[in-house]
Subunit: 193 residues, 2 copies
Amino acid sequence: MSDTNDSLTAILTSARKEILSQGILGLRVADVASDANTSITQIYRFFRNRDGLLARVLGDIYDEQSKMSVEQYLARLPKDSAITIKDLVSAVPVVMTDEQIRFHEMRLQILATSIHNKELNDRLKICSQNLFEIWRTGLDEIQARMAPGETFDERVFFMVFAQQNPYYRTLIDEKFFTPEEYKEFLIEKLRAQ
Amino acid sequence: MSDTNDSLTAILTSARKEILSQGILGLRVADVASDANTSITQIYRFFRNRDGLLARVLGDIYDEQSKMSVEQYLARLPKDSAITIKDLVSAVPVVMTDEQIRFHEMRLQILATSIHNKELNDRLKICSQNLFEIWRTGLDEIQARMAPGETFDERVFFMVFAQQNPYYRTLIDEKFFTPEEYKEFLIEKLRAQ
């Protein structure tokens, strides 16, 4: 039993390492087997095929990334003082760091892979629905800490932010709008009427 | 000269057919060559390599799809009467048809491909910036036809719709919100304050 767990852990670790260095398309099950000191047969015993392995590893990455992005958002809010609408917008990564761009590139590739990988698609559905609960809890905490007179429209989180693909912003550059204009827009739309 | 053009057209037609039937990953230059009645060497003369061919064909598809989606949006607005905010929202495909889902899946795959295909990425940037101009013209036409007292906030088109990835909606289902709630939200946010 412990051997089985060790073997599973080694396979997951190697597969993730391969994906991060070679890309999703570059993942070769034979390389994972050799790196994890196991056999292709053993990998297929756990995951049935390459798609099954991808569904598990990419699903794990997507899930961790989703949770991390909520945590990072909450961590960017003021810690000791009341929260304003402006704080909520300042915490949105409007201008992305290289790390955030990599993050969204990985998500885009995972989403694209899920189109023809049903197991991964099912997993992403579960991740997305769990994410809803995580945001629900986070937004309740924020609501409880808002400054007097500052009320925000929670729907913007679910109906705007959750559906956005920030990769588009790398394509449009500042042709459509500047970061400042975007922040001003978000402040207006976040403020509950 | 005419032979060169014929050959180019045949290559582009075959490559598109291959991509639509086999997927982007399944595109084999040898199959394109054989279907287009030409040689791999000839294809590389035009496009340097497989990535160059992909950049051209996927860029063309993305460009056509973008223009078509603006045209289809405008065509869903009332033809003979003044336009209201409600009309603007009714024309947004909140519940997607199978065809619209396929459309967004293709876009997602093109975007994902552009991460490691610089030529395609450059092309998508140009497409996105042209799209801005097309929307600008479309919105001016809409503004001129709005019903008295109905004024909309154009920024919603550029800062919300243009950045949305509707594939997310297929993942979250109605857990986050119903189509009716989403439409109500859009009506509120589109109305200029």
